[in-house]
Structure formats: structure tokens, C-alpha cells
């Protein structure tokens, strides 16, 4: 059961993290959430990314964008890591999204087999 007490704990932990972390540019994962993205399953990708980021305790934020014109390769995500080049992954599945969090966001290794643009 999800309780308000649990939310209160998330709040305390998050405030502590914010206090400890140096102010800097965060990792950003951008998900295409236009009509084409949603129809291709981007909502599940967005939720899977959030879930995995929460589970692995990564300091990253998931944000949306509209259609970027590669509708055929949706769901699309862009990974922005400060100091690294921007990478775009296409035809992303839930399993791929989790692996991208683990290997790219945490491990800093680009999964080149899924990259459509860098």
C-alpha cells in the first residue's frame, strides 16, 4: 500500500541527496512524446526509464519532447550526459530502456548497436 508516510520518506531522502550533490548540470533523458511516440509505446518507455533511474538511484531527469521527425524509429530517446556527446536511440523497448540506464547512464558506455544518431 502506498502511503503518505512513504511519500514523506521519499521527500526526506531526496532533500538529503540534493544537499549532498554538488550543483551541476544533471543527466537528462529526453523521450519523444508526440502522437507518433505515444502510439509506438513511448509512455511505457518513459515509465520504465523513471522506474530504473529510481531503482539505481541515478541523479537524472526524464523530460519530454514532441515529434522530431523520425516517426518511423519511435520510441526515440536522447541521452544528454554533461561532458559527453548527445546520443539518440531508436525503436526503444522497455528492456532496452533499462539497459540504457544501467550501461549508458551509470556505466557511461554508449550502446552503439541501438544508436541512430550521435
Amino acid at each position: 500500500m502506498k502511503t503518505i508516510q512513504e511519500l514523506e520518506k521519499i521527500r526526506r531522502d531526496a532533500l538529503e541527496e540534493i544537499r549532498l550533490r554538488e550543483e551541476g548540470e544533471k543527466i537528462r533523458v529526453v523521450v519523444g512524446l508526440g502522437t507518433c511516440g505515444i502510439a509506438a509505446g513511448a509512455r511505457e518507455i518513459m515509465n520504465a526509464l523513471t522506474e530504473e533511474i529510481a531503482r539505481q538511484n541515478v541523479d537524472a531527469v526524464v523530460t519530454p519532447t514532441g515529434c522530431i521527425g523520425f516517426c518511423i524509429q519511435e520510441p526515440l530517446i536522447e541521452v544528454h550526459i554533461p561532458g559527453m556527446k548527445k546520443v539518440t536511440y531508436g525503436n526503444v523497448t522497455v528492456d532496452m530502456a533499462k539497459e540504457i540506464v544501467e550501461k549508458h547512464l551509470v556505466g557511461r558506455t554508449i550502446l552503439s548497436q541501438w544508436v541512430i544518431h550521435e
Binding site: 500500500m1 502506498k2 503518505i4 512513504e6 511519500l7 514523506e8 521519499i10 521527500r11 531522502d13 531526496a14 532533500l15 540534493i18 523521450v31 512524446l33 508526440g34 502522437t35 507518433c36 505515444i38 502510439a39 513511448a42 509512455r43 511505457e44 518513459m46 515509465n47 523513471t50 522506474e51 533511474i53 529510481a54 541515478v58 537524472a60 531527469v61 526524464v62 523530460t63 519530454p64 514532441g66 515529434c67 522530431i68 521527425g69
Partner: protein, 179 residues
């Protein structure tokens, strides 16, 4: 689209792109009148009458990157396929409101789908837009209001991954009890 909840997310993202600060989605199921009514109403920048007149045309879009906009025309096609209708009301002063009415029992009516996933994805995408989601079934109502969560969690932003997870799980639990 495979679910009504995906169409709802699409409409919510339209409101986000229109610069709304508040948006309300309502799903109403009425078994007596055999109706399912879905509306999304926002306080965004709205549409001038000229744009509103061709809002359902797939070759109408406000984007400059390409010449098509499919969201509302797909929604219209979906409504048509299950004996339904669509209404788009908008003006620059009043934002925009899209309402569809569907025959609830129609063979081709899409399932409502994963509402918790739609709510959590939208709050994650647009943490600064207040989202109210109301679900009314045969007169009984459920309400999610992102402002309530925001109040409890401040100054932590609503799109913190753990907060998004909490929202998704708690809406899921509450809806299961409700339906």
C-alpha cells in the same frame, strides 16, 4: 493507438505544448445511457477561429518542422469507429477543450487502458502543469490532483523519479479499489 489512455496522454501533451498551467482530464462511464465521455480541458493559449475550424484536418499543424498533425484526426477516426463524436472548443481567451463521446458497449471501442501510466508519464513530462484527473463511473467519482502531491513533496520537484513511481503505484491502488 491501442488504448483510450494513450489518446488522453496525447491530448494532455497538446495542452502542454499550448503552454497550459492547468489541465483537467475527465473520464465518465455511464452504463445506463451506454456512454463513455472523455474530455481534456486546459487553460493554454487556445486557438483562433480560423485554426479551430481546421483543427481536425490531418494536414493542419502549428509545427514548422513538418506539415501534418495527426493527434486529433486519429482521435476523430477512433470516435467514428465506435458510433461516437468529437467536439473541440477553443478560443485564445479560454484555452481549449476536447470532448469525445463513445458508445460504451460498441465492439470497436478501445479499452480505457493504463490510466496510472498515463498520469505518471504526464506528471513526469510536465511537472509544472497542474493535472487533475477525474474518473466518474455510474455517478461515483475518483480524483487525482497533482497539486496535492506537490504540496506534500515541496521543495522536491514532482518529476523526481521516486515521486513519479509513488504516484503511479498509488493511483493504481486507488483505482483498483474504486473500480
Amino acid at each position: 493507438m491501442e488504448e483510450l489512455a494513450q489518446h488522453i496522454l496525447d491530448l494532455l501533451m497538446n495542452s502542454w505544448e499550448a503552454g497550459a498551467t492547468e489541465v483537467e482530464a475527465v473520464v465518465e462511464e455511464d452504463s445506463e445511457r451506454d456512454l463513455m465521455i472523455i474530455s481534456v480541458t486546459d487553460n493554454g493559449k487556445g486557438m483562433e477561429p480560423e485554426l479551430l475550424a481546421k483543427a481536425l484536418d490531418p494536414f493542419t499543424t502549428t509545427r514548422s518542422t513538418r506539415g501534418v498533425g495527426l493527434g486529433l484526426s486519429l482521435l476523430q477516426a477512433m470516435a467514428d469507429s465506435c458510433n461516437g463524436s468529437i467536439k473541440v472548443e477553443s478560443s485564445p481567451a479560454n484555452g481549449c477543450s476536447v470532448t469525445i463521446e463513445l458508445q460504451r458497449s460498441h465492439w470497436d471501442r478501445l479499452p480505457l487502458g493504463d490510466i496510472p501510466a498515463t498520469i505518471s508519464a504526464f506528471v513526469c513530462a510536465a511537472p509544472y502543469v497542474r493535472l487533475k484527473f477525474r474518473y466518474v463511473i455510474n455517478g461515483h467519482g475518483y480524483l487525482f490532483d497533482s497539486a496535492k502531491v506537490e504540496k506534500l513533496i515541496a521543495p522536491v520537484p514532482l518529476n523526481h523519479p521516486k515521486v513519479i513511481q509513488w504516484i503511479k503505484e498509488s493511483v493504481k491502488e486507488e483505482l483498483t479499489q474504486f473500480v
